[in-house]
Symmetry: C2
Subunit: 185 residues, 2 copies
DNA sequence: CCTAATACGCTACTCGAAGTAGCGTAATCT
DNA sequence: AGATTACGCTACTTCGAGTAGCGTATTAGG
């Protein structure tokens, strides 16, 4: 489901993952998550829908890989805990504000609510790495880390979903102030 | 679009809104938001799909009315501000935990991300009353109230969407502690 | 060079759910 | 009685996710 294949025989996969991800974000940005059909994404990437389904088992899986691509690499965490957390939150808010990223995130999240397989994928491939990183960094219980993630991500996505636009900087700063009172030290 | 009609002539609408709302929540609880099709909701309510569409212009509009029904009346707010806010948060978490309510909420919210008309409906009919109430009660800027709503609702929905289950009480209490540090006084 | 193996692009299909049209019938008011 | 509106029903349109199968292209290895 990823990049170049390891088996030796046969025609290798052409190197179009990056093109597809860019086309996905562009299409979502222009037409919204629902408007970004697999047909349209394929057309924007200059390939065929069947090729997409050869690489990703579902639209949700494609979007998740596209988001993983958009959200890497992870943000830096230094010894200054409050500054690092604030930086990570600004980083997440910024990513969600990038064209197509927030809408794709909210869309796949919506789909996941009703699709246990997709939820599993979202939880395992998307949330788990950040959970592990934060648990190691903060040295707090998994319960608290999970709540931290729920608060940050949930708030940003709720704003995105309610207004259709990313959260403004001054509101991000307000949220940071609030969260740091509990998780800052 | 609501209850008994005011015009005098013609056959009056039968009194089945409450039945439909209950059927909707039951169906969403049993089959999930995506599985709760208009056909199935109609069948569960003992009516016809066309009747649903005579009363609500879309599935999203039906769900929103169903949620308005489930979330009324509003919680009590007393002079004790921290206790009132904590109570309101527990009330919201409890409602979202009721069978079918959280899933319906998350589902319609998901749809709204990609549907400006539905987003408008959600914002106007659902959020606006609570925004007004909280602004009057807290006497704070609309910006801060909106963030408060984003944090509470977003966090609860994110947990619901990520795990498929409502947030546990101890996590709700943790969230209350966090939020009260900023909005408690 | 030839063959096996795999990927590609394409057309055409199935399936399911939202939403619509139209009909005959039921209930209410004047 | 007649006008008016709602109901239940069947049938339909539309659209998007996902699939099947074909001919072709590209690679590795004999």
């Amino acid at each position: 489901m990823q990049g170049t294949n390891t088996s030796s025989a046969g025609r290798p996969r052409s190197d179009l993952n990056a093109v597809v991800f860019a086309a996905t974000r562009r299409t979502v940005d222009e037409l919204g998550y629902a408007g970004a059909t697999m047909d349209r994404i394929a057309a924007a990437a200059g390939t065929a829908k069947t090729t997409l389904y050869r690489r990703w088992p579902s639209k949700g899986a494609l979007i998740i890989d596209c988001l993983l691509d958009a959200f890497s690499p992870m943000p830096e965490l230094t010894e200054d805990r409050p500054a690092s957390l604030a930086g990570a939150i600004r980083w997440l808010a910024g990513k969600i504000g990038e064209p197509g990223v927030g809408a794709a995130f909210a869309g796949v999240f919506s789909d996941a609510v009703n699709d246990p397989a997709l939820r599993e994928l979202l939880s395992t491939r998307f949330q788990a790495p950040y959970l592990a990183m934060l648990r190691d960094y903060l040295g707090e219980s998994e319960q608290r880390i999970l709540l931290f993630i729920d608060v940050i991500t949930g708030t940003l996505l709720h704003r995105m979903g309610m207004t259709g636009r990313p959260m403004e900087d001054r509101d991000v700063e307000l949220m940071i102030d609030m969260v740091l009172k509990t998780f800052g030290e």
